[in-house]
């Protein structure tokens, strides 16, 4: 289809609103045919970044290139080659799915057919339904269909599954998989770690307008040096020393969060007995014990001390 030049290249991007710095020297490179995720909590600067890349916001510093072109000189050509789903667009409720897609189709030089796109997002049966009669998940898939109708090479999805139920999220993930299988590149923002793990080839973890870690999901999790996380709570004790917990056999790091202790461990069969022995030695009773494989959430927490979602 085209050379191996990056689909998107962002260098030292800066953007300030009045006195708030939203994006603070951010670098991102998205290769052709990959799915790239910007993962971070609300307010990290993800939406500002993606809207600058989409040519919808001006930036104060740095460069943004799409397919080697930029928004100053190549805006019309770029608009033909990208598809966009914004975070909170409300499509007109009084139009049908077909009418909405036919409208968006009219803007592009080489669009897909409405029937093909509707099949891609599994809205075939809703073709003649009014947008107002669609469920949240269906509306979101229609929004993605509007992004796909121009047959784009690069798709921008800003929080595509926020507020959707699990089934709707999986349906949207399938749509994204199919687009990628057909050779497209994707940039998406999310604050769901499972979504980023499931969809993305590469991830940049963003906090306070900066990339604080980047790599494949696998690399990021391995950077913890611990594949497992042990969480426990205990009754009848004064708070334990975090330093003491971190020194237990098989434990790499420890922290406390709302009364629950979280330990990163590489080997559960050594760490769990050590934790139990520690509790017995401190005369404390175990009230909760969970272990799970380390996730991107744990990566974020270990980097910032905060959770991705504060709800």
């Amino acid at each position: 289809m085209m050379s191996t030049a990056p689909a998107l290249s962002v260098r030292s991007l800066r953007k300030a609103y009045d006195d708030i710095i939203a994006v603070d020297g951010l670098d991102v490179e998205v290769r052709a045919r990959e799915c790239f995720g910007l993962l971070g909590p609300n307010g990290a600067g993800k939406t500002t970044t993606i809207e600058i890349c989409e040519g919808l916001l001006d930036h104060d510093g740095g460069t943004v290139e799409l397919f080697g072109g930029n928004w100053e000189h190549d805006a019309d050509a770029l608009r033909q080659r990208i598809g966009i789903s914004l975070q909170e667009t409300q499509l007109s409720e009084k139009l049908s799915v077909r009418e909405t897609l036919t409208l968006f189709r009219s803007f592009y030089d080489h669009p897909k057919s409405v029937v093909d796109v509707v099949a891609l997002v599994q809205l075939d049966e809703k073709l003649n339904a009014r947008v107002g009669a669609l469920s949240g998940g269906q509306k979101q898939r229609l929004a993605v269909a509007c992004a796909l109708i121009g047959d784009p090479e690069l798709l921008f999805l800003d929080e595509p599954t926020t507020g959707l139920d699990p089934q709707s999220r999986r349906q949207l993930w399938d749509v994204i998989d199919r687009f990628r299988a057909s050779g497209g590149s994707i940039v998406l923002t999310t604050h769901y770690m499972d979504e980023a793990e499931r969809l993305c080839d590469h991830i940049a973890i963003v906090d306070h307008g900066k990339v604080i870690a980047r790599g494949t999901p696998r690399e990021l999790i391995e950077s913890l040096g611990a594949e497992q996380v042990i969480e426990f709570a205990a009754a009848g004790h004064t708070p334990f020393s975090i330093e003491a917990l971190a020194k237990l056999d098989g434990v790499r790091a420890a922290r406390i969060d709302a009364g629950t202790y979280a330990l990163q461990a590489s080997e559960l069969h050594r760490a769990v007995p050590a934790v139990l022995a520690f509790l017995a030695a401190n005369n404390a009773a175990l009230t909760e014990l969970r272990t799970h494989s380390a996730t991107l959430e744990d990566v974020f927490v270990s980097l910032t001390g905060r959770h991705l979602r504060n709800d």
Binding site: A77, L91, E99
Partner: protein, 360 residues
């Protein structure tokens, strides 16, 4: 930039072009909003019908007269004489009731005849109907007492079509309707698109902004034909409102007015983000014109010092031009000053709106 194969736009039927799709969407959104249909098409007709009936030309009202009764049993002679005239309704009542009736406006004048050769009229000279009543009552009583007319008077009655209130009203309502549809039609639709972030979404596509704005104009023109035909047609059929001027001048004026008020709507919506903000601004712009620009009553009622300002308002120019065309049969040349005012407003609004308009 690394190009993908630069092929020309895939050919497609006109129906699938941007301009026709954008215009179709505008019209669909409008006809799928029953409330909008009511306000644009039904409400002006109800208003014309209501006001037309309320202020229709009726035979002159009868003058209501109170005569103060005497202590005796027989009604006063004055009352008998006045009651013989069909233009009067005469009531005989005690003095205090008569004064009360005068005070609350139930009668126009109170007649008191204390002495045989003298009569007292009690009325408020500031009330027009009371002054008329005094003339009529006095005329009857003087003649009954033996006064002879020195001059023979003949009467010739006319009801001129084009001079009635409904004739004045229909062009005014048309102007007001054009103002409302332009300002609301464009203003609300654009602010709604901005509020829903749909404007931002559209700007993120290769959509042509010029064609986007043109689609609003085109849909306005389609609606305009319906608005004018329905309201003017109703006036002509139900009230025989005259259409004395050339039709093409009426059409030209209406189209120019529609562009002007669309420009006003565009200007109002150029920055506003909320419906409440838009609503307030629209009312602030339209309300003064509804009052000043001669919709329901002539703008000549306002003081002379205000006239240059009132004449410069776009709705005044539109109403004056429509009235001159429909009622006086004015040619294009005669209404050129009004058309110039409308054209200047159109250019000014669009120039300013396109400079201020926020797409993102």
């Amino acid at each position: 930039m690394i190009d993908r194969d630069q092929k020309p736009r895939t050919p497609r039927p006109f129906r699938d072009s941007q301009i026709s799709q954008l215009t179709l969407v505008r019209l669909r959104e409008f006809i799928r909003e029953p409330e909008a249909l009511f306000w644009v098409f039904i409400f002006p007709i109800l208003m014309a019908a209501g006001l037309g009936l309320a202020f229709r030309n009726r035979p002159a009202d009868k003058v209501k007269v109170a005569v103060v009764e005497h202590a005796g049993i027989l009604p006063p002679l004055v009352a008998t004489r006045l009651a013989a005239d069909s233009a009067l309704i005469v009531q005989v009542m005690p003095a205090d009731s008569a004064l009360e009736a005068l005070r609350i406006g139930k009668v126009a004048i109170v007649v008191i005849d204390t002495v045989m050769t003298e009569v007292t009229y009690r009325y408020d000279p500031a009330r027009e109907e009371s002054r008329t009543a005094r003339l009529v009552v006095d005329d009857i009583l003087q003649r009954a007492s033996g006064r002879a007319d020195a001059l023979t008077a003949r009467e010739s009655h006319v009801t001129e079509r084009g001079a009635r209130y409904i004739d004045f009203l229909i062009p005014g309502l048309l102007g007001m309707n054009l103002l409302g549809s332009g300002v609301w039609g464009l203003g609300f639709a654009l602010v709604d698109l901005r509020r829903k972030k749909l404007l931002k979404r559209l700007v993120a596509t290769p959509m042509s902004k010029a064609q986007f704005l043109a689609s609003f104009m085109l849909s306005r023109l389609v609606m305009l034909v319906l608005e004018v035909v329905i309201l003017v047609g109703f006036g002509v059929i139900a009230f025989h409102v005259p259409m004395r001027g050339p039709l093409w001048v009426l059409a030209f004026t209406a189209v120019l007015a529609a562009f002007c008020f669309s420009g006003l709507g565009l200007l109002i919506s150029s920055r506003v983000k909320t419906m409440e903000g838009a609503s307030g601004l629209m009312n602030a712009v339209m309300l003064p014109m509804w009052i000043l620009s001669g919709v329901f009553f002539s703008s000549a009622n306002f003081p002379v010092v205000m006239q240059p300002f009132i004449k410069a308002l776009p709705l005044t120019a539109v109403n004056d031009a429509l009235r001159a065309n429909m009622l006086q049969g004015a040619s294009l040349l005669v209404i050129l000053p009004q058309l110039t005012v409308i054209a200047l407003w159109t250019i000014g609004c669009f120039a300013l709106a396109l400079r201020l308009f926020r797409w993102k």
